[in-house]
């Protein structure tokens, strides 16, 4: 979140990907940073996934990520 906040300050549209249990932490951090950092959440858990499962997660996240980086306003999912 700090990284994307900093990159937004540097003029770059950015989005941050985390697993679902971190939605609340991200919200707290966004509030403290003063920027509604664009973020997309994928299904938890991550650490014990197979590579195929990770690729499916990426496929599922792609639309939301593209939406977060394009268009007039960036939605937060």
């Amino acid at each position: 979140m700090h990284d994307i906040d900093d990159l937004e300050r540097r003029g770059l549209p950015g989005v941050f990907v985390a697993s679902e249990p971190f939605a609340e932490a991200a919200e707290t951090q966004a509030r403290a940073l003063g920027l509604e950092v664009a973020r997309v959440f994928v299904a938890h858990p991550i650490q014990d996934r197979t590579d195929d499962e990770m690729r499916s997660l990426a496929d599922e996240a792609l639309d939301a990520l593209t939406r977060a980086l394009t268009g007039a306003s960036a939605p937060t999912q």
């Binding site: 540097r10 549209p13 989005v15 941050f16 990907v17 985390a18 496929d59 996240a61 394009t70 306003s73």
Partner: protein, 94 residues
């Protein structure tokens, strides 16, 4: 009757100014998208797949990795991304 007690504020009292996100491009085609790996296990597989898909959609992809997921990215890495890319995706915190 007890007197009201006045206590001092233990918090930072910092109220960050609310900023807005940068304007978004209409589409990613033809743009350079930075993929920043926070260096947690499995994140690279996720980003490999995003790279494939984004490239198919006509975006150019540059890959970055921060030394450890436990700390913010070093300033020179952030500078590098900001000067080389048009947009950035950071993954994957769990």
């Amino acid at each position: 009757m007890t007197e009201p007690v006045t206590v001092l504020d233990p918090t930072s009292e910092a109220a960050p100014g609310q900023r807005s996100l940068n304007p978004r491009p209409a589409e990613l085609e033809g743009l350079t998208v930075g993929l920043l790996d926070i260096s947690k296990p499995k994140g690279a597989v996720f980003l490999d797949r995003l790279e494939e898909r984004l490239t198919t959609q006509g975006a150019m992809v540059r890959r970055y990795a921060k030394p450890t997921f436990t700390k913010p990215a070093p300033v020179d890495l952030r500078h590098e991304i900001a000067t080389q890319c048009d947009a950035v995706i950071e993954a994957l915190a769990d």
